[in-house]
Amino acid sequence: MNRRFFLKLVGMGSISIAAGCTPDPYNQPRPDKTLYSLVQAPDDMVTGDAAWYASTCRECPAGCGILAKNREGRVIKVEGNPHHPINRGRLCMRGQAALQGEYNPDRIRTPLLKENGHWKPITFTAALSILNDRAGEAAKAGPDRVRMVTEVVGESLLGLFETSLAHWASKGPLVFEPFAYESLKLANQAAFGIEGLPSYRLDEADVLVSLGADFLETWLSPVEYARKFKTMHAISGGRKGRFFHVGPYQSVTAANADLWLSCRPGSEAVLALALTADVLNSERATSLPRVLRDDLKNFVAGLEREKAIEVSGVSANGYERLSQSLLSAEKPLVLGSASIAGPNALQADFAANLLNLALNPELPLIDFERRHRVEVADSRSDLAVFFRTLQQEAVDVLLLNNVNPVYALAGSADIAAALKRETPFTVAFSNFMDETAALADLVIPTAFSLESWDEYGGTSDAVSTLQPAMGRFIGAPHIGDVFMKAALGKTAPENTYKTYLIAGLISRGLVRNESDWLKTLQRGGIFEANARSRPFDPAKFDAAAGRRLLASLSEPAAGLTFLAAPSLRFFDGRGANRPWLCEIPDPLTRVAWQAPVLLHPDTAKTLGLKQGDLVRVSSGSGQLEAPVYVTPGVRPQVAVMALGQGHVEFGRYAAGRGSNPVALFAAEDDGQVGMPRLFAEGVQIAATGRVVKLANTDGDRTQHGRKIAASVAMESLASLKQSKLNGLTMWDFPLTLPLPEGYDPKRDFYKPHDHDGYRWGMVVDLDRCVGCGACAAACYAENNIAVVGGERIVEGREMAWLSVERYVDAVVPEKITFLPLMCQHCDNAPCESVCPVYAPHHNKEGMNNQIYNRCIGTRFCSQNCPYKVRRFNWFAWEWPEPMQLQLNPNVTVRAKGVMEKCSFCVQRIKEAHNWAKNEKRTIRDGEIVPACVQTCPTDALVFGSLMDPDSRVRKMVDDPRAYQIMGYLNTKPGVIYLKKVVQEV
């Protein structure tokens, strides 16, 4: 062919190729099916690189700082903000699961207007105009005809709400928070003269007593307090602080106590008073100011400790030990009742304050300057009253901002009735069709916290900023903008909420100017080191108020008492539609997806019930059905159920699962005391004859005398140092590092093998692990682990790479050890040699790789894994739209029929390698942080190279507590555990 023809040909060819590339203009290419390259990328977005945005977690009122990881325009992971004073870079499992609110398949996409019982999607503009008209009319009709109930929000937003409502000639919003700590606030009011929620310096205490406060689960600020707790309670310098937990059931917090005193529900107050008496009768009291001492003496006058012990039903010996520890304590701290107020919670909180005063009237460990934001919440009774009087009061428009009273409030039937009626015209600002939204007349989804400009101070000393970490996913406006448009309209001080927000902060003198604002954003907020609060002035103590309060102290009721426990997974129930939180089993029962009712073996025996029996629990106010879980972790004559499940609405993951304990509670009382009564006395439990297969992931609760979750007694720590093991059995097999030095001709058949530069390993300090399960959630988020659902878990098909196992002492069942268990990355990994195709094999850096696309699914590796930490894809798992947008692009989504397991977050290791290579250096110790390590609130996990003599892990394995699970199999695991230190207190 000649040149011209050739050129023609080439031309035609290239044109035809080009033509092939252009997408068909007639049908829109689906984003998930089509690859786009950005013509003009946003300056902070580099394809393949993550952009991190500092923001604030709004999954609970604690207000932890987060960094949202954005890849190609979508948030794929949230991690704690290291600069943030509250959580110091850590996050709980609920924080990790914030993503599943953002990408929840049941998220409402457009405003919904109810027309004769049916939802009609409308535009946001339409919704806003409806809101505008309705509220406008109401405002014209008269004062206080537009009312609002909101969740706890930041100052700026709250201010905007007030302005807007004022514009509608109405009074400000009620702030509703299911866990509002009314009792604690009232007790503080009575004792310290401040109705607020000061924060506590747990970290400085040497003896800590909790009268039920579940500060590792939900109480005030769990991530912060978990960290502080471990600061005082982890082994350091051969000693650790003492922690006593007093309460009728064993929460995760109680499971971490050195001694759990199981007392009758409602008897905590009496105990605290008795302890106060002990203190006052000791020489400690001599240092007390006379006035205060006399006042306190009056409180405990005529209260014998024997009586108290008998009433509360604690063991005398246990009480004695608690009392002694307190008397001998240098910096004791007593915390009040749980997030969910049980019987006499108010009195318990007050008694706790009294005890604190008696122990040290200056209250050095209570920080009155640093208050928890949740204190702005109105008392439960105010809300109850408000909703009850909704009929009488002429309210035309009711605005609900992300609250779910119909689920949370006892006796919510009449609230539901009130919402159902024509007037008031109820507008629910909610991203999910929950029980309350379902009854509203108009539902307006608003921007999710990860899409918003906002500000929120979890504690009074910090202002924490929110910024959009991704584009608005459903185009919903921020609620602030809604109010600025709908309410203020032309009269709005600024045209967007963002500018309003900045202006507000500047006027409050928190930021100086725009650029300062940008710096603040980068940091994640304004965190000035809070000045040490002045010592408490005992003169402030007002005995009269206290006397009134203690007057209502009631005797523990006879019969079966039913308690609702705050849930580490679902908080007050708002987490129930996050599949990760449902899938990750409860730390103590190891039951996922279901909400069993916990009974003591004796109680179960007397009622003739077995594990898994479906029972009907009924009180005067209502009834519910739940499977029985038998555990010595609750007191006889007490039935406990975690709050959070039993939704009737709220999406596919929440609706119709478990049951809501609130059903058993009497409607909120008239507000004399001002706090909810979230318990039911004298309940009936009857078997239904049906049996439920519990979706628990644990095979057996005890260790059968094996070296798995090992612990060492404080006193024998010293002897541990000397002992050098050199045997071949489970108990005397030495620690064999996964390094050439771990080779011993006596034990090894093959010569040792070397590693290339690094030998990655992890050290798990069981003494620091509190069992909160944040690591598991982080692992789900980072590694695209499938959620399989309760039915599959019953079949034994859960996919968790990392699970925090719970081992119960065979002799003393309330002694519990938590064991984070993941792939041990053995040097002599049994899984490797049995695979016919090398799918699992040892890489140059000592990790045990699993090559998914090489795996053919013989499952021999799992059979041969002594730790059974491998997970198999029994089916093709699904990520319902748009859940798949959360998937980490750096991690393969595993196909049906292949094996998978913990990879030590190999994608992060590779990333670190790239950085190191670019900078021509080796990887620094601590540079690689796997997801689980990153989020652990108590630093129980440490990752690094065992080959590096200076790495932290290498130093930690020299700790005499170091051991390997089933080390005697000579698998030489790369995960090394440090024994838990148990102390007799």
């Binding site: 992931t697 644990d698 095979g699 057996d700 609760r701 005890t702 260790q703 059968h704 005398g705 094996r706 798995i708 059995t729 489970m730 599959r792 079949e795 034994g796 098909r797 859960e798 196992e805 719970r806 081992y807 064991l819 268990l821 049994p830 040699s833 049995v834 695979c835 016919p836 195709v837 090398y838 090489r854 795996c855 053919i856 699914g857 013989t858 499952r859 021999f860 799992s862 059979q863 041969n864 002594p866 730790y867 059974k868 491998r870 997970r871 198999f872 894809n873 029994w874 089916f875 093709a876 196909a895 049906k896 029929g897 292949v898 094996m899 699970i965 089933m966 199999l969 698998t971």
Partner: protein, 438 residues
């Protein structure tokens, strides 16, 4: 057998090749249907996922591998009978050798299916073969599963060749008596065998080598199968007696299956004169022996577990005998070791009904032995928090039904269309009491 003559032997055997009855074909059709059910279940599993079975973590192996080991076990006595007994010149082997070898070949075929069914991604099964690719991905020759691939495929090849070679002279006999199409087919099959002295001279020799090589092969193959378990660290698997224990078990189950097959065959094909009671009795006696070995193995396992003072081992075995799977365990013990002892009684081992019944019992017992080994060990291994149980699903039962149907389907077809008793060897038995000369 003195009333037997060459002609009579030929007559009896060739009679069985006469055109089949309607009832026969109905039976074949029924078996074919069973195969279809199994196939359907498998296809369903391939599309939906292994999860349709009962396996889980920790018990990631289920009936598929139970049946695999079961069928491989069955497959053993065939070659064993014809090879080892040939070397020992045990005359009573000759009448049943052919059927036993046939059983072997078909059992291996069925067994060979199960690893495929078991795989999570069967469409990637070729990863297990050393196929040169430009990515130079090779199988892992330290894996017991690759040992299996090598051993089982070798065993299938060798035992089928052994079986076919042994059949050559008989095929010639059929050829010489047949007419029309069958004549053509058998001419082709018999490779032009004429029984010329030159042919016999080499034939007897290679047959001897076949026997000599097949014998260690039989031992090795089931040892290799046992190492699928013994090479794992799992308590209850990781033991050195597994190889002999499995071989004995295999022979045990194989002999039982021989009885199970021979007794109806003998009845239907009127083989009474050829497969005499004396022969069945000899099989029964051997079953006593293998049963005792198996029983001894059970005892040894428990003793060693106790002797090791390893809590994990001790627990697993205690749990086997008393735990959730105690019933299967005791079925296993009873059927495999106790019931066969009844053969000590002459009356029992010479009564057809008893022979048949007990052979069935042993088959069941041996299936449960594999169940106990495969399920119970991982169900209660090192970390109690991982413990779990296993129950086969309907799909698994469907596939199991399919496998049994397939085996009997092939066997029934064979015995009707091929000489199911070796006429040549019977004639030898007449002349010189049973060995292949030399």
């Amino acid at each position: 057998m003195n009333e037997l003559t060459f002609d009579r032997i030929d007559q009896t055997v060739l009679d069985t090749l006469r055109p089949a009855t309607r009832r026969y074909w109905i039976g074949v059709a029924a078996l074919a249907f069973g195969i279809l059910i199994g196939a359907a279940c498998w296809i369903y599993q391939i599309f939906v996922g292994i999860g349709v079975g009962g396996q889980n973590i920790p018990v990631a192996w289920g009936t598929y591998l139970i049946n695999f080991v079961f069928w491989v076990g069955i497959a053993h006595s065939g070659t064993l009978i014809s090879a080892i007994l040939h070397l020992f010149r045990a005359g009573w082997r000759n009448p049943i050798a052919r059927a036993a070898e046939t059983m072997t070949v078909f059992a291996v075929c069925v067994a060979g299916l199960f690893p495929f069914i078991h795989l999570g991604r069967v469409w990637m099964v070729y990863y297990m073969l050393p196929i040169p690719t430009q990515r130079t991905l090779w199988p892992n020759f330290t894996s017991p599963l690759i040992f299996d691939v090598v051993a089982i495929s070798t065993y299938l090849t060798v035992s089928s060749l052994f079986w076919y070679t042994g059949m050559l002279p008989d095929l010639a006999i059929v050829r010489d008596r047949a007419v029309g199409v069958r004549k053509k087919i058998f001419t082709w099959l018999s490779l032009g065998w004429t029984g010329a002295h030159e042919q016999w001279r080499h034939y007897t020799r290679i047959y001897l080598f076949f026997a000599a090589l097949a014998t260690p092969l039989v031992i090795s193959v089931h040892s290799v199968v046992s190492w699928d378990f013994a090479l794992a660290v799992v308590p209850g698997w990781h033991t050195t007696i597994f190889a002999p224990y499995f071989v004995a078990g295999a022979i045990h189950s194989g002999l039982a299956m021989v009885l199970t097959l021979m007794i109806p065959l003998r009845k239907i094909f009127k083989y009474e004169a050829i497969i005499t009671l004396h022969i069945l009795e000899s099989v029964a006696k051997t079953i006593i022996f293998t049963g005792l070995i198996v029983g001894f193995a059970y005892a040894t396992e428990f003793f060693i577990a106790w002797y090791s003072r390893n809590p994990v081992e001790i627990f697993v075995f205690a749990w086997r005998a008393t735990g959730d799977y105690a019933i299967p365990f005791w079925i296993m013990v009873t059927c495999n070791t106790i019931i066969p002892l009844a053969f000590f009684i002459k009356k029992v081992r010479t009564t057809i009904a008893w022979l048949f019944g007990i052979s069935i019992a042993v088959n069941i017992g041996m299936w449960y032995e594999r169940f106990i080994i495969i399920i119970t060990s991982v169900g209660r291994d090192f970390l109690p928090n991982t413990w779990g149980l296993y129950r086969p699903s309907l799909v698994e039962f469907g596939i199991m039904l399919g496998s049994f149907s397939l085996f009997f389907f092939l066997f029934v077809l064979f015995v009707k269309h091929m000489p199911s008793v070796s006429m040549t060897e019977m004639k030898e038995t007449l002349v010189e009491g049973g060995d292949h000369g030399h």
